[in-house]
Symmetry: C2
Subunit: 182 residues, 2 copies
DNA sequence: CGAGGCATGTAACGAGTTACATGATTGC
DNA sequence: GCAATCATGTAACTCGTTACATGCCTCG
């Protein structure tokens, strides 16, 4: 099982551990927190839920309430609780560096005339800026969710600061590229 | 065309723009820079190269030199040069926030006893530390590749600083989790 | 003569997304 | 009567990776 899947199963298990829920409910809660970096589309989620039922981590019971469509409400089993704890331990103690794809263009930016290069870098900077403004600042850290938010905030700050370093070094014309350096 | 593919085509185009090369050569150069965050496996690369030949961005000529196996040496066409410039402009001026998956576990860390939670976070911290030490510091920024390296360095610093914030807030027991907060 | 490098791939698999299918109910 | 919401999926497609195929050459 790969890292992406583990994290996603952990997310579902962790939510169901707090409260039994059906798929639609889980999906809505996750979607309302995309800003924090959680992405999980419906078909993927349903597939994971069914896989975890297969594995005996979850049980599912169909519930009919009022005029709503029939719901499949999932609950953690004892095995699911054990799996949750294992995934949590593995995940909390692990780190793999971010693989950021946006920087290939930096390698070749000298192919552009200096003024255009500068303009494009400033445009990138504006995007980071606007993303930063879109995040409402945290008054204090009071729950784990805040820590995740803080993570985003800190990395956006870093991105901006780094971009300023890039812009500075470009404007001082300190940068030259030869093939030998790649 | 999605972001990942664009970046990878840009990387290949940019390298071929500096010098005609065959696949094996490209692959070796890219592999020797995985540390900088460039990952591109052989089959993927060959597929992209062939796709770009199809698109008329590259031409390929077979070369036989000495006793080496026959090589397919790729060169940029005029269309390839135009494509390179377009991808470069798009890519340099764009930014999409990093999607980091390692933080789901943070949401649920209260499920663990405090001492174990602390131990696991410290283990994560050690991994970041060791990654940081594995990067040799930059004496100065003299080429675009240094900027990419600097990007990694800065984000590792940020990761470490954030982890210290996490550890601090955990040890002060400021963090509590209810479902309503998710 | 066998292991490993050079060189270019193919095939099978896995994981995720988009678009679509289904079907009942509620609001305009 | 038509769109939107609730609810659970399936099917087709894309993208990438791993493992394997091929064949020649070099080195020990």
């Amino acid at each position: 099982m790969e890292g992406q899947i583990v994290e996603r199963k952990l997310l579902l298990l962790g939510m169901l551990r707090m409260q039994d829920m059906h798929g639609y409910q889980l999906n809505e809660m996750i979607d309302s927190h995309i800003q924090a970096g959680f992405a999980l589309k419906k078909p993927t989620m349903y597939k994971l839920l069914n896989a975890m039922v297969e594995d005996g981590w979850l049980t599912c019971a169909t519930h009919k309430e009022g005029n709503y469509p029939t719901r499949r409400v999932y609950s953690l089993t004892a095995a699911g609780e054990l799996a949750f704890m294992k995934l949590l331990r593995d995940s909390l103690s692990a780190y793999s560096p971010i693989e950021y794809q946006g920087n290939v263009s930096l390698l070749f930016m000298n192919a552009l005339p200096e003024d255009e290069r500068m303009a494009l870098l400033h445009r990138r900077r504006e995007i980071v800026k606007s993303l930063q403004h879109a995040m409402h600042p945290l008054p204090a850290i009071s729950n784990p969710h805040d820590l995740v938010q803080l993570h985003q905030i800190r990395h956006l700050e870093t991105e901006l600061a780094w971009l300023d370093e890039v812009i500075a070094s470009v404007s001082e014309e300190r940068i030259h590229l030869e093939l030998s350096q790649f």
